[in-house]
């Protein structure tokens, strides 16, 4: 008998597929959080593999802030259509009414649109398990989170009282109103994600590739002026060759100057770079242990 040694990517792929099949078998109403970023792209691709030839037996949920890049909205609709999956878009009606935006409202923007928006959407549709694309290499409190992460009826995470999680035997049981957040990409690193996108030829938002884009420098971040809602205080957008290592709300997401136009070039740049991925996001810098706190409150 010949031995076939699985590569680390094959093992990670199998693990993610195993996790997704467990959720579909045990949850009453699962959903996949789809943020249109590269991790979401990989997660969606894995979902197609897990259930082929059936389409993934759950909908995609985009918790929208109305402030994403235009390119993201375009890919979102196309990707859902190609996968044959229902796409649910949720915008927090209160945030919409109050005109919450990242320019005037600081951290309230994230709280209202993302944290509250997510909770509303899960409650509204009665989803009891939600896949998220978070990885343990992203941030210190994530490094400690279980793959099946239990949430109380008020969506709280209790980091000091996590369920033990042995082997690949996951406990998905919960009482009514409680839910699970499930992270099939927990053990992937940023490099794994990029390499997998490269090998599997997965479509990602063009913003990850370098191109000439209108940008301004503000608070140490290089921001792209993606539409005319961007208030310019006398600044003049400058065309720079930039790309994004991570994608969120465009006024909160810093670009990096780059000439990387292919995936190998992106990976090369990432490997030789000396700053971590989340640095481009304003959200983590607010306070020490900020992500742990946000997660306890229900942020993904």
């Amino acid at each position: 008998m010949s031995i076939m040694t699985l590569t680390h990517l094959q093992r990670l792929e199998a693990e993610a597929i195993h996790i997704m099949r467990e959720v579909v078998s045990e949850a009453e109403k699962p959903v996949m959080l789809y943020s249109v970023g590269k991790d979401s792209a990989v997660m969606l691709h894995l979902a197609k593999k897990a259930f082929y030839p059936s389409p993934p037996p759950f909908p995609l949920l985009h918790v929208d802030t109305t402030w994403k890049f235009r390119d993201m909205y375009a890919l979102r609709d196309r990707a859902a259509r190609k996968a044959g999956m229902q796409l649910i878009v949720h915008q927090n009606p209160e945030a919409l009414r109050a005109g919450i935006n990242p320019f005037d409202h600081g951290s309230l923007h994230t709280d209202m649109w993302k944290t509250e928006g997510l909770k509303q959407a899960l409650d509204l549709h009665g989803f009891d398990a939600a896949f998220g694309g978070a990885r343990r290499d992203e941030e210190k409190s994530r490094a400690k989170e279980r793959i099946f992460s239990f949430r109380t009826a008020s969506h709280r995470w209790d980091p000091k009282n996590q369920r033990p999680e042995l082997w690949r035997t996951y406990n998905a049981r919960k009482n009514k109103g409680e839910s699970m957040r499930v992270f099939p990409l927990s053990n992937w690193t940023e490099l794994d994600i990029w390499q997998y996108i490269h090998l599997e030829n997965i479509e990602i938002v063009p913003l990850y590739y370098a191109a000439e884009r209108p940008t301004v420098k503000r608070d140490g971040l290089l921001l792209m002026v993606d539409d005319d809602r961007f208030p310019l205080n006398g600044e003049k957008p400058v065309m720079r060759s930039v790309r994004f290592r991570t994608l969120g709300c465009y006024p909160l997401t810093g670009a990096v100057e780059s000439r990387a136009q292919t995936l190998p070039e992106i990976i090369q740049e990432m490997l030789l770079t000396t700053t971590s991925e989340r640095q481009g996001r304003a959200i983590d810098h607010d306070q020490a242990a900020s992500m742990e706190k946000k997660k306890q409150e229900g942020y993904f």
Binding site: T7, E13, K144, R146, P164, T169, N171, Q268, S276
Partner: protein, 632 residues
């Protein structure tokens, strides 16, 4: 020059070649364990740092944090890099497993940094359960400690086959070979006593970087591998699993349309090829593999660790939780096992109570008997034990409510490892490692009888049922039950009243009032009630039956609709005021232990069929209400 540093040049000059190499890397998962100051975090910090997994901004944060809350003065405190939770940084200890990632030329590594404190054993077990290798750290100045023994025992118990004994802080003992040899000899005699036959000892210094990524000049007497070399070359368990017989637990049946029926799962061991003969357990039905389906096209062969979808040539029954095996080497099927149980919940194990048992994708109801013994994880002594509390490890018999296909844990973590889940809280309360099946159940055959339960019931012209009255002591259960039985007798119904006090004079006179005795009390009453319904009787019971899970257990023993839960709802103050038997007074005076409502909990039914509020109606009215609701 070290290999890690060569990588940079390759990335810069020829990214495609680098990607090609990286793509073919294998993956090793390992844990690090040791006592609080053995230098675990420093070692991991160094591995991450040396493999360039720490970015500048993280390093800047780390330097700032080190000065603010670190324990290393002005120097970098690597522990802060690994201790991710706010509570951990405040207390300076590791509470939960942290997963870290790094890669070298040959392999990608996932390292689980597991806590050393005994109170976080369940978290160490979580980290160890997915690991191929364990690095046991020892402080060269302190030698083999109690914690060293505990961690080694747990790692071995959970099935980690590769152990590295990293004797750390060699710089603080002047790289003395004698110190190293003494520690290795001490460890070897302990290791052999618990069945660890092989381990790799390495003298290191996490702080100075000796023998971690490169050979140290300070230990010329050492000719074994350096730590990273060993991690890069040790044989993977997953490769060995491929040589075993084929087994796959079915997770999900894929049925997109009438023409396709596939069985999805992750291959636990062995290989499977097109045309292979398979057997499905527990049914024992056989077929052959017609397709191995993936999105990227059908495969000719699939191996342990891959997640696939299998199609059979024949239409045979197969569903979630069943196991597909090579037809010539099937797995065993049983409903009673001996297993090592690791208890992981603040609430202790209640022997006899019904828990969910999840093994692979299958969930069944199971109970754990009184432990045969508990292991003192610090001394390896076997102790007598009535139960298992948080972090306790013991050996006990397990009974499941149906036959399940399984394997011994030493053969397969997938087929022999299970978790126990509390039916009320849904918490994961225990983990189990199956040793072997007990043959008892297989040798006691069910004798088929010709007069069926339906026949018995038809002769009495009634529908058998169990009227299960639950409520506090003194709530009025026995009084109401007695009136109900008298009224039914007048209606020519065949009944029998099982009363809590009366049963304890005979059938259950060997039982006391501890939680596990209460469980056994109810289990026996449930079995007796079941026999009586099979004889066609209407059974009325009056037991406090304080726990929801036991009432649930009796419900599950009976056919659907025959268990009628009646909640005799009398508030504690009222029952205590009545105190017909004078028991509350005794309990309050401390003369009666484990008294329900005083120092033992009562869990009221969440959705009883009938609720009797005794503060609003008399016993006579209550009995009328019950009969009116149940007898048409």
């Amino acid at each position: 020059m070290n290999e890690i540093y060569k990588t940079d040049a390759l990335i810069a000059e020829d990214i495609d070649t680098y990607l090609e190499t990286h793509q073919h890397k294998t993956m090793l998962r390992f844990i690090t364990c040791g006592s609080v100051d053995d230098g675990k975090s420093t070692l991991i910090g160094r591995l991450l740092y040396d493999s360039k997994m720490i970015f500048e901004d993280q390093l800047a944060t780390l330097e700032a944090d080190s000065k603010r809350v670190g324990t290393q003065g002005e120097a970098i405190d690597f522990a802060l890099l690994v201790d991710g939770l706010a509570a951990e940084r405040e207390q300076g200890i590791t509470i939960d497993v942290a997963y870290r990632f790094f890669a070298t030329e040959k392999r990608k590594f996932i390292v689980a940094d597991t806590p050393g404190h005994e109170q976080y054993t369940r978290n160490m077990v979580t980290g160890a359960s997915t690991a191929d290798l364990a690095v046991i750290l020892i402080d060269a100045r302190k030698g083999v400690l109690t914690q060293t023994r505990r961690h080694s025992y747990l790692a071995h118990l959970i099935g980690i086959r590769h152990l590295v004994l990293a004797v750390n802080k060699m710089d603080l003992v002047d790289y003395d070979e004698a110190v190293f040899k003494k520690i290795v000899a001490d460890y070897r005699s302990f290791a052999e006593s618990i069945g660890i036959l092989d381990f790799t000892p390495i003298p290191i210094s996490g702080l100075a970087g000796d023998n971690i990524t490169s050979r140290s000049q300070a230990t010329p007497w050492y000719d074994g591998p350096v730590l990273l070399d060993h991690l890069e070359t040790v044989e993977l368990d997953q490769t060995a699993d491929q040589l075993k017989p084929f087994r796959m637990q079915v997770q999900w049946v894929n049925r997109p349309n009438l023409d396709f029926r596939g069985f999805a799962g992750t291959i636990a061991s062995g290989q499977i090829r097109m045309g292979d003969e398979i057997r499905v357990l527990p049914s024992g039905k056989t077929s052959t593999i017609s397709r191995i389906v993936t999105l990227d096209g059908d495969l000719e062969v699939a191996v342990a660790g891959q997640a696939v979808t299998l199609c059979f040539a024949d239409e045979i029954d197969c569903s979630r939780g069943q196991i597909i095996t090579a037809s010539k080497s099937p797995v065993e099927v049983a409903d009673q096992f001996e297993a090592t149980v690791i208890w992981m919940d603040e609430d202790e194990l209640v022997p006899g109570r019904a828990y969910w048992l999840k093994i692979g994708p299958q969930t069944v109801t199971a109970s754990v008997a009184h432990p045969k013994y508990q292991v003192n994880v610090n001394t390896m002594e076997h102790l007598a034990a009535k139960t298992l509390d948080l972090n306790a490890i013991g050996v006990a018999n397990i009974t499941t409510d149906r036959d399940i296909p399984f394997g011994g844990y030493d053969e397969s973590r997938d087929l022999g490892g299970f978790i126990l889940i509390d039916k009320m809280t849904n918490r994961t309360v225990g983990a189990g490692l199956i040793h072997f099946a007990l043959r008892r159940a297989q040798n006691i055959h069910w004798q088929a009888t010709d007069i069926s339960r339906e026949h018995h019931a038809a002769m009495k012209n009634q529908k058998p049922m169990v009227l299960w009255m639950t409520g506090l002591s003194g709530s009025g259960k026995s009084t109401i039950a007695n009136i109900v039985e008298k009224k039914l007798a007048r209606m020519n119904r065949h009944t029998f009243l099982l009363d809590g006090d009366n049963v304890r004079h005979g059938l259950n006179k060997d039982l006391g009032f501890t939680d596990s005795d209460r469980v056994e009390n109810i289990r026996r009453v449930g079995e007796v009630a079941k026999l009586m319904t099979e004889a066609g009787l209407i059974v009325i019971t009056a037991f406090i039956s304080p726990f929801r899970s036991e009432r649930e257990m009796v419900r599950s023993m009976l056919p659907p609709g025959e268990f009628i839960e009646i909640f005799i709802d009398t508030p504690l103050e009222e029952a205590e005021k009545r105190d017909v038997k004078g028991l509350y007074a005794k309990a309050r005076a401390g003369q009666l232990k484990n008294f329900t409502g005083i120092d033992s909990p009562y869990e009221p039914p969440e959705a009883p069929h009938i609720r009797i509020d005794t503060t609003k109606m008399s016993a006579e009215e209550a009995a009328d209400l019950i009969i009116e609701k149940l007898i048409p």
